[in-house]
Protein backbone atom coordinates (compact mmCIF):
# COMPACT_ATOMS: atom_id res chain seq x y z
CA UNK A 1 0.00 0.00 0.00
CA UNK A 2 1.47 3.41 -0.97
CA UNK A 3 1.64 6.54 1.18
CA UNK A 4 -1.40 8.12 -0.41
CA UNK A 5 -3.64 5.10 -0.05
CA UNK A 6 -2.57 4.72 3.59
CA UNK A 7 -3.43 8.36 4.23
CA UNK A 8 -6.80 7.82 2.55
CA UNK A 9 -7.47 4.73 4.66
CA UNK A 10 -6.65 6.54 7.90
CA UNK A 11 -8.68 9.53 6.84
CA UNK A 12 -11.64 7.28 6.23
CA UNK A 13 -11.11 5.61 9.57
CA UNK A 14 -10.86 8.92 11.46
CA UNK A 15 -13.95 10.28 9.70
CA UNK A 16 -15.99 7.43 11.19
CA UNK A 17 -15.62 9.00 14.61
CA UNK A 18 -18.31 11.61 15.16
CA UNK A 19 -16.28 13.87 17.46
CA UNK A 20 -12.81 14.81 18.63
CA UNK A 21 -13.19 12.77 21.79
CA UNK A 22 -13.67 9.49 19.92
CA UNK A 23 -10.85 10.34 17.49
CA UNK A 24 -8.58 10.83 20.49
CA UNK A 25 -9.74 7.56 21.98
CA UNK A 26 -8.81 5.80 18.76
CA UNK A 27 -5.37 7.45 18.89
CA UNK A 28 -4.97 6.37 22.53
CA UNK A 29 -5.63 2.77 21.48
CA UNK A 30 -3.00 3.09 18.74
CA UNK A 31 -0.58 4.43 21.32
CA UNK A 32 -1.25 1.62 23.75
CA UNK A 33 -0.60 -0.97 21.02
CA UNK A 34 2.75 0.65 20.20
CA UNK A 35 4.94 -0.85 22.90
CA UNK A 36 8.18 -1.86 21.23
CA UNK A 37 10.14 1.37 21.54
CA UNK A 38 13.57 0.70 23.11
CA UNK A 39 14.04 2.67 26.33
CA UNK A 40 17.68 3.53 25.51
CA UNK A 41 16.62 5.38 22.35
CA UNK A 42 14.40 7.77 24.26
CA UNK A 43 17.15 10.38 24.10
CA UNK A 44 17.62 13.84 22.70
CA UNK A 45 19.27 12.63 19.47
CA UNK A 46 15.99 11.23 18.23
CA UNK A 47 13.67 13.80 19.72
CA UNK A 48 11.46 15.81 17.38
CA UNK A 49 11.91 19.45 18.31
CA UNK A 50 9.02 21.85 18.75
CA UNK A 51 6.34 19.47 20.01
CA UNK A 52 4.64 20.26 23.29
CA UNK A 53 5.15 16.74 24.60
CA UNK A 54 8.35 14.78 23.98
CA UNK A 55 8.19 12.90 20.68
CA UNK A 56 10.79 10.46 19.36
CA UNK A 57 11.14 9.13 15.85
CA UNK A 58 13.76 6.63 14.75
CA UNK A 59 14.34 5.66 11.14
CA UNK A 60 15.69 2.32 10.04
CA UNK A 61 16.56 0.96 6.58
CA UNK A 62 15.83 -2.62 5.57
CA UNK A 63 15.90 -4.08 2.03
CA UNK A 64 15.93 -0.59 0.48
CA UNK A 65 12.84 0.42 2.37
CA UNK A 66 12.43 2.78 5.31
CA UNK A 67 10.81 1.95 8.64
CA UNK A 68 10.08 4.25 11.56
CA UNK A 69 9.78 3.55 15.26
CA UNK A 70 8.01 6.21 17.29
CA UNK A 71 7.22 7.14 20.85
CA UNK A 72 5.96 9.99 23.00
CA UNK A 73 5.50 10.61 26.70
CA UNK A 74 1.95 11.84 25.98
CA UNK A 75 -0.63 9.30 24.84
CA UNK A 76 -2.61 11.22 22.23
CA UNK A 77 0.55 12.56 20.59
CA UNK A 78 1.98 9.05 20.62
CA UNK A 79 -1.12 7.75 18.87
CA UNK A 80 -0.73 10.34 16.13
CA UNK A 81 2.98 9.72 15.60
CA UNK A 82 2.25 6.00 15.51
CA UNK A 83 -0.09 6.63 12.56
CA UNK A 84 2.43 8.89 10.86
CA UNK A 85 5.23 6.37 11.37
CA UNK A 86 3.09 3.62 9.84
CA UNK A 87 2.19 5.83 6.86
CA UNK A 88 5.85 6.37 5.97
CA UNK A 89 7.10 2.92 6.95
CA UNK A 90 7.60 0.12 4.44
CA UNK A 91 8.13 2.74 1.71
CA UNK A 92 11.09 3.53 -0.51
CA UNK A 93 13.08 6.72 0.09
CA UNK A 94 11.96 7.96 -3.36
CA UNK A 95 8.29 7.60 -2.56
CA UNK A 96 8.74 9.42 0.76
CA UNK A 97 10.69 12.28 -0.80
CA UNK A 98 8.20 12.62 -3.67
CA UNK A 99 5.10 12.52 -1.48
CA UNK A 100 3.46 15.93 -1.47
CA UNK A 101 0.79 15.22 1.11
CA UNK A 102 0.33 17.68 3.97
CA UNK A 103 -0.63 15.21 6.67
CA UNK A 104 -1.64 17.76 9.28
CA UNK A 105 -4.02 19.37 6.84
CA UNK A 106 -5.43 16.02 5.76
CA UNK A 107 -6.05 14.80 9.29
CA UNK A 108 -6.92 18.16 10.88
CA UNK A 109 -5.07 16.99 13.97
CA UNK A 110 -2.30 19.61 14.04
CA UNK A 111 -3.50 20.76 17.46
CA UNK A 112 -2.07 17.59 19.00
CA UNK A 113 1.54 18.28 18.08
CA UNK A 114 1.64 21.95 17.39
CA UNK A 115 0.60 24.11 20.32
CA UNK A 116 4.03 24.53 21.93
CA UNK A 117 5.73 25.74 18.78
CA UNK A 118 3.83 25.90 15.55
CA UNK A 119 6.54 23.84 13.84
CA UNK A 120 6.16 20.63 15.87
CA UNK A 121 4.28 18.68 13.22
CA UNK A 122 6.28 20.31 10.45
CA UNK A 123 9.56 19.26 12.10
CA UNK A 124 8.46 15.66 12.31
CA UNK A 125 7.55 15.45 8.62
CA UNK A 126 10.79 17.23 7.76
CA UNK A 127 12.76 14.69 9.78
CA UNK A 128 11.10 11.86 7.86
CA UNK A 129 11.86 13.45 4.50
CA UNK A 130 15.42 14.46 5.45
CA UNK A 131 16.19 10.89 6.36
CA UNK A 132 14.68 9.59 3.12
CA UNK A 133 16.62 12.20 1.12
CA UNK A 134 19.84 11.14 2.80
CA UNK A 135 19.21 7.45 2.04
CA UNK A 136 18.34 8.25 -1.55
CA UNK A 137 21.62 10.08 -2.13
CA UNK A 138 23.78 7.47 -0.33
Amino acid sequence: MGIESKVEAYKKMLSLFPNAQEKYQYLIEQAKDNTNFPEELRNDNFKVSGCQSQVWLIPEEKDEKVYFMSDSDALIAKGLVTLIASIYSDETPEDIVNSKIDLMEEFELGVILSPARRNGAFNMLKMIKDYATKLKSD
Binding site: N19, Q21, Y24, I28, A74, L75, P115, A116
Partner: protein, 407 residues
Amino acid sequence: MKEFENIKKDFPIFTREVNSKKLTYLDSGATAQKPQSVIDAMNNVYMNTNANVHRGTYVLSAETTQLYEGVRNKCKRFLNAFHSDEIIFTKGATEGFNFLANSISKKFLKPGDEILLTEIEHHANIIPWQMVAKQHQLEIQYITVNDDFSVDMDDLKNKVSNKTKIVSITGESNLSGLLPDIKTIRNIVKENSDALFILDGAQLVPHRKVDVQELGIDFVVFSGHKLLGPTGIGVVWGKLDLLNELDPVSGGGDMIEEVYFDRATWAPVPHKFEAGTPPYVEAIGLGAAIDYLENITMEKVSDHSDKLRAYAQNIFSDLDRVNVIHTNEEFAGCTFSMHVDGIHATDISLMLDTYGVAVRAGHHCVQPFHRKLGIDATFRATGYIYNDENDLDVFKDALVSSIEMLG
Protein backbone atom coordinates in the same frame (compact mmCIF):
# COMPACT_ATOMS: atom_id res chain seq x y z
CA MET B 1 -22.21 36.32 42.15
CA LYS B 2 -25.44 37.95 41.08
CA GLU B 3 -23.99 41.12 39.60
CA PHE B 4 -21.64 38.98 37.51
CA GLU B 5 -24.20 36.74 35.90
CA ASN B 6 -24.60 38.87 32.78
CA ILE B 7 -20.94 39.61 32.23
CA LYS B 8 -20.40 36.83 29.68
CA LYS B 9 -22.82 38.65 27.37
CA ASP B 10 -20.31 41.50 27.07
CA PHE B 11 -17.72 39.13 25.57
CA PRO B 12 -18.57 38.11 21.98
CA ILE B 13 -16.30 35.05 22.08
CA PHE B 14 -18.65 33.27 24.47
CA THR B 15 -21.24 32.93 21.72
CA ARG B 16 -19.06 30.38 19.92
CA GLU B 17 -18.78 26.68 20.46
CA VAL B 18 -15.67 24.52 20.59
CA ASN B 19 -15.95 20.89 19.50
CA SER B 20 -19.74 21.39 19.48
CA LYS B 21 -19.68 22.34 23.17
CA LYS B 22 -20.22 25.66 24.88
CA LEU B 23 -16.84 27.34 25.43
CA THR B 24 -15.56 27.07 29.00
CA TYR B 25 -12.57 29.38 29.03
CA LEU B 26 -10.21 28.88 31.97
CA ASP B 27 -6.98 30.24 30.53
CA SER B 28 -7.20 33.90 31.49
CA GLY B 29 -3.85 33.60 33.23
CA ALA B 30 -2.41 33.39 29.71
CA THR B 31 -4.68 36.00 28.18
CA ALA B 32 -8.11 37.39 28.97
CA GLN B 33 -11.04 37.55 26.56
CA LYS B 34 -12.09 40.98 25.33
CA PRO B 35 -15.37 42.77 25.99
CA GLN B 36 -17.21 44.37 23.07
CA SER B 37 -16.32 47.83 24.41
CA VAL B 38 -12.58 47.18 23.95
CA ILE B 39 -13.12 45.87 20.42
CA ASP B 40 -15.35 48.88 19.64
CA ALA B 41 -12.83 51.37 20.99
CA MET B 42 -10.13 49.98 18.71
CA ASN B 43 -12.45 49.73 15.72
CA ASN B 44 -13.49 53.33 16.31
CA VAL B 45 -9.89 54.51 15.97
CA TYR B 46 -9.38 52.66 12.69
CA MET B 47 -12.74 53.70 11.29
CA ASN B 48 -13.00 57.29 12.46
CA THR B 49 -9.88 58.97 13.80
CA ASN B 50 -6.81 57.04 12.73
CA ALA B 51 -3.67 59.13 12.25
CA ASN B 52 -0.23 58.86 13.76
CA VAL B 53 0.00 60.47 17.17
CA HIS B 54 2.04 63.55 18.17
CA ARG B 55 2.95 66.47 15.93
CA GLY B 56 0.33 65.86 13.26
CA THR B 57 -1.21 69.32 12.95
CA TYR B 58 -4.58 68.18 11.72
CA VAL B 59 -7.82 67.09 13.33
CA LEU B 60 -7.40 63.31 13.04
CA SER B 61 -3.94 63.29 14.58
CA ALA B 62 -5.04 65.64 17.36
CA GLU B 63 -8.03 63.42 18.17
CA THR B 64 -5.99 60.23 18.18
CA THR B 65 -3.26 61.87 20.28
CA GLN B 66 -5.85 63.02 22.76
CA LEU B 67 -7.35 59.53 23.02
CA TYR B 68 -3.90 57.96 23.35
CA GLU B 69 -2.49 60.38 25.92
CA GLY B 70 -5.78 60.20 27.79
CA VAL B 71 -5.02 56.56 28.59
CA ARG B 72 -2.00 57.70 30.61
CA ASN B 73 -4.42 59.53 32.89
CA LYS B 74 -6.61 56.45 33.14
CA CYS B 75 -3.57 54.35 34.10
CA LYS B 76 -2.51 56.99 36.61
CA ARG B 77 -5.92 56.84 38.27
CA PHE B 78 -6.09 53.05 38.04
CA LEU B 79 -2.75 52.64 39.87
CA ASN B 80 -3.09 55.76 42.05
CA ALA B 81 0.20 57.00 40.58
CA PHE B 82 1.54 60.43 41.51
CA HIS B 83 1.64 61.73 37.95
CA SER B 84 0.52 60.61 34.50
CA ASP B 85 4.08 61.12 33.19
CA GLU B 86 5.05 58.11 35.31
CA ILE B 87 3.12 55.84 32.92
CA ILE B 88 5.33 54.37 30.20
CA PHE B 89 3.73 52.34 27.44
CA THR B 90 5.55 49.20 26.33
CA LYS B 91 4.52 46.37 24.06
CA GLY B 92 3.88 44.13 27.07
CA ALA B 93 5.11 43.10 30.51
CA THR B 94 8.09 41.25 29.03
CA GLU B 95 9.31 44.37 27.25
CA GLY B 96 8.72 46.26 30.48
CA PHE B 97 11.12 43.98 32.37
CA ASN B 98 13.69 44.11 29.59
CA PHE B 99 13.57 47.89 29.62
CA LEU B 100 13.89 48.11 33.42
CA ALA B 101 16.67 45.51 33.63
CA ASN B 102 18.73 47.20 30.92
CA SER B 103 18.14 50.78 31.92
CA ILE B 104 18.53 50.30 35.68
CA SER B 105 21.63 48.11 35.43
CA LYS B 106 23.40 50.63 33.17
CA LYS B 107 22.59 53.57 35.39
CA PHE B 108 22.57 52.29 38.94
CA LEU B 109 24.38 48.92 39.23
CA LYS B 110 28.02 47.93 39.51
CA PRO B 111 29.78 44.54 39.46
CA GLY B 112 28.98 42.43 42.52
CA ASP B 113 25.58 44.08 43.14
CA GLU B 114 22.78 41.63 43.86
CA ILE B 115 19.35 41.14 42.32
CA LEU B 116 16.81 39.33 44.47
CA LEU B 117 13.98 37.35 42.84
CA THR B 118 11.82 34.46 44.08
CA GLU B 119 11.78 30.88 42.82
CA ILE B 120 8.30 31.31 41.38
CA GLU B 121 8.98 34.23 39.08
CA HIS B 122 7.76 34.13 35.49
CA HIS B 123 10.59 33.81 32.95
CA ALA B 124 9.96 37.46 31.97
CA ASN B 125 11.13 38.42 35.47
CA ILE B 126 14.18 36.12 35.34
CA ILE B 127 15.76 36.11 31.88
CA PRO B 128 16.20 39.90 31.47
CA TRP B 129 18.03 39.93 34.83
CA GLN B 130 20.17 36.95 33.81
CA MET B 131 21.10 38.79 30.62
CA VAL B 132 22.14 42.00 32.35
CA ALA B 133 23.80 40.08 35.20
CA LYS B 134 26.13 38.50 32.67
CA GLN B 135 26.83 41.84 31.04
CA HIS B 136 27.51 43.79 34.24
CA GLN B 137 28.81 40.99 36.54
CA LEU B 138 25.80 41.10 38.85
CA GLU B 139 24.65 38.29 41.14
CA ILE B 140 21.12 36.88 41.17
CA GLN B 141 19.67 35.35 44.33
CA TYR B 142 16.37 33.49 44.53
CA ILE B 143 14.20 33.59 47.65
CA THR B 144 13.09 30.04 48.46
CA VAL B 145 9.45 29.05 48.22
CA ASN B 146 8.08 26.76 50.96
CA ASP B 147 6.34 23.42 50.40
CA ASP B 148 2.99 25.18 50.73
CA PHE B 149 4.09 27.50 47.86
CA SER B 150 4.44 30.55 50.14
CA VAL B 151 7.51 32.81 50.09
CA ASP B 152 10.03 31.83 52.79
CA MET B 153 10.28 35.07 54.77
CA ASP B 154 13.28 33.83 56.78
CA ASP B 155 15.11 33.16 53.55
CA LEU B 156 14.20 36.66 52.38
CA LYS B 157 15.69 38.11 55.59
CA ASN B 158 18.83 36.02 55.11
CA LYS B 159 19.32 37.04 51.50
CA VAL B 160 18.55 40.76 51.58
CA SER B 161 21.60 42.87 52.45
CA ASN B 162 23.27 46.13 51.59
CA LYS B 163 24.55 44.37 48.44
CA THR B 164 20.93 43.92 47.26
CA LYS B 165 20.16 46.63 44.72
CA ILE B 166 17.07 45.24 42.98
CA VAL B 167 14.18 43.22 44.36
CA SER B 168 11.70 42.11 41.68
CA ILE B 169 8.78 39.98 42.79
CA THR B 170 5.48 38.76 41.42
CA GLY B 171 2.33 40.14 42.99
CA GLU B 172 0.38 36.99 42.12
CA SER B 173 1.86 33.63 41.18
CA ASN B 174 0.73 32.41 37.76
CA LEU B 175 1.20 28.85 39.02
CA SER B 176 -0.24 28.61 42.54
CA GLY B 177 -2.33 31.77 42.88
CA LEU B 178 -0.14 32.87 45.78
CA LEU B 179 -0.44 36.57 46.65
CA PRO B 180 2.88 37.32 48.32
CA ASP B 181 2.53 39.87 51.12
CA ILE B 182 4.09 42.68 49.12
CA LYS B 183 3.89 45.32 51.85
CA THR B 184 5.69 43.13 54.41
CA ILE B 185 8.29 42.01 51.86
CA ARG B 186 8.79 45.60 50.78
CA ASN B 187 9.28 46.71 54.41
CA ILE B 188 11.88 44.00 55.05
CA VAL B 189 13.67 44.97 51.85
CA LYS B 190 13.66 48.70 52.59
CA GLU B 191 14.79 48.18 56.22
CA ASN B 192 17.77 46.07 55.18
CA SER B 193 18.88 47.59 51.89
CA ASP B 194 18.53 50.56 49.58
CA ALA B 195 17.24 48.27 46.81
CA LEU B 196 14.72 49.38 44.21
CA PHE B 197 11.48 47.41 44.54
CA ILE B 198 9.82 46.19 41.34
CA LEU B 199 6.40 44.52 41.37
CA ASP B 200 5.46 42.10 38.60
CA GLY B 201 1.80 42.99 38.25
CA ALA B 202 1.05 40.84 35.19
CA GLN B 203 -1.32 38.56 37.14
CA LEU B 204 -2.15 40.86 40.04
CA VAL B 205 -3.22 44.08 38.30
CA PRO B 206 -6.11 42.44 36.38
CA HIS B 207 -7.58 41.01 39.60
CA ARG B 208 -6.91 43.42 42.45
CA LYS B 209 -6.61 47.11 43.13
CA VAL B 210 -2.92 47.96 42.99
CA ASP B 211 -2.24 51.27 44.70
CA VAL B 212 1.41 52.10 44.09
CA GLN B 213 1.45 54.84 46.73
CA GLU B 214 0.03 52.58 49.40
CA LEU B 215 2.43 49.73 48.52
CA GLY B 216 5.41 52.09 48.60
CA ILE B 217 7.10 50.41 45.65
CA ASP B 218 9.34 51.91 42.97
CA PHE B 219 8.11 50.24 39.79
CA VAL B 220 5.24 48.07 38.62
CA VAL B 221 5.06 46.20 35.32
CA PHE B 222 1.94 44.75 33.69
CA SER B 223 0.48 43.85 30.30
CA GLY B 224 -2.79 44.94 28.74
CA HIS B 225 -3.97 41.65 27.31
CA LYS B 226 -4.40 39.95 30.67
CA LEU B 227 -6.73 42.70 31.87
CA LEU B 228 -9.23 42.51 29.01
CA GLY B 229 -7.17 44.76 26.73
CA PRO B 230 -5.44 43.94 23.45
CA THR B 231 -2.04 42.33 22.97
CA GLY B 232 0.93 44.52 22.10
CA ILE B 233 0.48 47.00 24.93
CA GLY B 234 1.84 47.02 28.45
CA VAL B 235 2.68 49.51 31.14
CA VAL B 236 5.68 50.30 33.30
CA TRP B 237 4.91 52.64 36.15
CA GLY B 238 7.91 54.15 37.95
CA LYS B 239 8.53 56.97 40.38
CA LEU B 240 9.15 60.16 38.44
CA ASP B 241 12.53 61.00 40.01
CA LEU B 242 13.83 57.53 39.11
CA LEU B 243 12.46 57.72 35.57
CA ASN B 244 14.07 61.13 35.13
CA GLU B 245 17.45 59.62 35.99
CA LEU B 246 17.15 56.55 33.77
CA ASP B 247 18.32 56.60 30.16
CA PRO B 248 16.33 55.15 27.27
CA VAL B 249 17.37 51.76 25.90
CA SER B 250 15.83 52.19 22.44
CA GLY B 251 16.36 55.13 20.17
CA GLY B 252 14.37 56.41 17.21
CA GLY B 253 11.48 58.68 16.36
CA ASP B 254 9.30 60.36 18.96
CA MET B 255 11.75 59.99 21.87
CA ILE B 256 14.01 62.91 21.00
CA GLU B 257 14.26 66.58 21.82
CA GLU B 258 17.04 67.64 19.39
CA VAL B 259 19.00 65.54 16.93
CA TYR B 260 22.39 66.49 15.44
CA PHE B 261 24.60 64.40 13.18
CA ASP B 262 26.79 63.42 16.12
CA ARG B 263 24.38 63.30 19.07
CA ALA B 264 20.82 63.71 20.29
CA THR B 265 18.98 64.85 23.38
CA TRP B 266 15.99 63.09 24.83
CA ALA B 267 12.38 64.16 25.16
CA PRO B 268 11.11 64.43 28.75
CA VAL B 269 9.67 61.41 30.59
CA PRO B 270 7.68 59.40 29.55
CA HIS B 271 8.27 59.97 25.82
CA LYS B 272 12.04 59.43 25.98
CA PHE B 273 11.33 55.76 26.68
CA GLU B 274 8.87 55.33 23.81
CA ALA B 275 10.86 55.20 20.58
CA GLY B 276 9.01 54.88 17.29
CA THR B 277 5.31 54.99 16.55
CA PRO B 278 3.69 53.73 19.73
CA PRO B 279 0.93 51.09 19.69
CA TYR B 280 -1.62 53.86 20.13
CA VAL B 281 -4.63 51.83 18.99
CA GLU B 282 -3.73 49.12 21.51
CA ALA B 283 -3.21 51.74 24.21
CA ILE B 284 -6.70 53.11 23.49
CA GLY B 285 -8.02 49.53 23.73
CA LEU B 286 -6.29 49.24 27.11
CA GLY B 287 -8.00 52.45 28.19
CA ALA B 288 -11.38 50.92 27.32
CA ALA B 289 -10.46 47.79 29.31
CA ILE B 290 -9.61 49.90 32.36
CA ASP B 291 -12.92 51.73 31.96
CA TYR B 292 -14.73 48.39 31.84
CA LEU B 293 -13.04 47.13 35.03
CA GLU B 294 -13.47 50.42 36.88
CA ASN B 295 -17.12 50.44 35.95
CA ILE B 296 -17.49 47.11 37.77
CA THR B 297 -15.03 48.39 40.42
CA MET B 298 -11.83 46.55 41.29
CA GLU B 299 -13.27 45.73 44.69
CA LYS B 300 -16.01 43.63 43.09
CA VAL B 301 -13.51 42.13 40.65
CA SER B 302 -11.33 40.87 43.51
CA ASP B 303 -14.37 39.72 45.52
CA HIS B 304 -15.47 37.68 42.53
CA SER B 305 -11.99 36.16 42.23
CA ASP B 306 -12.05 35.26 45.94
CA LYS B 307 -15.48 33.60 45.65
CA LEU B 308 -14.47 31.64 42.56
CA ARG B 309 -11.24 30.57 44.23
CA ALA B 310 -13.06 29.37 47.37
CA TYR B 311 -15.55 27.41 45.28
CA ALA B 312 -12.77 25.85 43.19
CA GLN B 313 -10.72 24.96 46.26
CA ASN B 314 -13.72 23.18 47.67
CA ILE B 315 -14.68 21.16 44.59
CA PHE B 316 -11.07 20.31 43.67
CA SER B 317 -10.29 18.99 47.16
CA ASP B 318 -11.71 15.51 46.58
CA LEU B 319 -10.39 14.91 43.05
CA ASP B 320 -8.97 11.43 42.81
CA ARG B 321 -5.36 11.12 41.52
CA VAL B 322 -5.06 14.87 40.94
CA ASN B 323 -2.23 16.77 42.62
CA VAL B 324 -3.20 20.41 42.96
CA ILE B 325 -0.55 23.10 43.15
CA HIS B 326 -2.29 25.87 45.01
CA THR B 327 -1.41 27.92 48.03
CA ASN B 328 -3.15 27.40 51.37
CA GLU B 329 -2.94 31.08 52.28
CA GLU B 330 -6.17 32.75 53.26
CA PHE B 331 -6.13 35.06 50.25
CA ALA B 332 -5.04 33.86 46.84
CA GLY B 333 -5.81 34.16 43.16
CA CYS B 334 -8.10 31.76 41.32
CA THR B 335 -5.20 29.89 39.72
CA PHE B 336 -4.89 26.12 40.04
CA SER B 337 -2.07 24.14 38.44
CA MET B 338 -2.46 20.38 38.50
CA HIS B 339 -0.83 17.17 37.49
CA VAL B 340 -2.07 13.61 37.46
CA ASP B 341 0.35 10.80 38.19
CA GLY B 342 0.96 8.74 35.06
CA ILE B 343 -0.91 11.04 32.67
CA HIS B 344 0.77 13.74 30.59
CA ALA B 345 -0.60 17.26 31.07
CA THR B 346 -1.04 17.73 27.30
CA ASP B 347 -3.23 14.60 27.11
CA ILE B 348 -5.48 16.07 29.79
CA SER B 349 -5.71 19.46 28.10
CA LEU B 350 -6.41 17.90 24.67
CA MET B 351 -9.14 15.77 26.22
CA LEU B 352 -10.60 18.76 28.11
CA ASP B 353 -10.68 20.63 24.80
CA THR B 354 -13.09 18.01 23.46
CA TYR B 355 -15.50 19.15 26.20
CA GLY B 356 -15.01 22.78 25.16
CA VAL B 357 -12.80 23.44 28.19
CA ALA B 358 -9.74 25.59 27.47
CA VAL B 359 -6.85 25.23 29.92
CA ARG B 360 -3.12 25.55 29.42
CA ALA B 361 -0.62 22.69 29.62
CA GLY B 362 3.12 23.14 29.97
CA HIS B 363 5.51 24.85 32.34
CA HIS B 364 3.66 28.21 32.19
CA CYS B 365 7.00 30.03 31.87
CA VAL B 366 7.99 28.90 35.37
CA GLN B 367 10.38 26.14 34.30
CA PRO B 368 12.91 26.31 37.17
CA PHE B 369 10.16 25.87 39.76
CA HIS B 370 8.60 22.94 37.86
CA ARG B 371 12.08 21.40 37.84
CA LYS B 372 12.34 21.91 41.59
CA LEU B 373 9.01 20.13 42.07
CA GLY B 374 10.20 17.35 39.77
CA ILE B 375 7.33 17.80 37.30
CA ASP B 376 7.67 18.24 33.52
CA ALA B 377 4.41 19.95 32.93
CA THR B 378 1.16 20.87 34.62
CA PHE B 379 -2.22 21.91 33.31
CA ARG B 380 -3.63 25.07 34.74
CA ALA B 381 -7.11 26.49 35.23
CA THR B 382 -7.44 30.21 35.91
CA GLY B 383 -10.67 32.08 36.52
CA TYR B 384 -11.61 35.66 35.72
CA ILE B 385 -14.62 37.96 35.91
CA TYR B 386 -16.61 36.15 33.19
CA ASN B 387 -16.22 32.73 34.84
CA ASP B 388 -18.75 31.33 37.27
CA GLU B 389 -19.26 28.23 39.42
CA ASN B 390 -20.78 26.42 36.46
CA ASP B 391 -17.52 26.78 34.48
CA LEU B 392 -15.64 25.17 37.36
CA ASP B 393 -18.19 22.35 37.58
CA VAL B 394 -17.90 21.72 33.83
CA PHE B 395 -14.11 21.68 34.16
CA LYS B 396 -14.21 19.26 37.07
CA ASP B 397 -16.63 16.84 35.39
CA ALA B 398 -14.63 16.96 32.15
CA LEU B 399 -11.42 16.36 34.09
CA VAL B 400 -12.84 13.31 35.84
CA SER B 401 -14.03 11.86 32.50
CA SER B 402 -10.70 12.67 30.82
CA ILE B 403 -8.73 10.88 33.52
CA GLU B 404 -11.01 7.87 33.15
CA MET B 405 -10.45 7.80 29.39
CA LEU B 406 -6.70 8.23 29.65
CA GLY B 407 -6.44 5.47 32.20
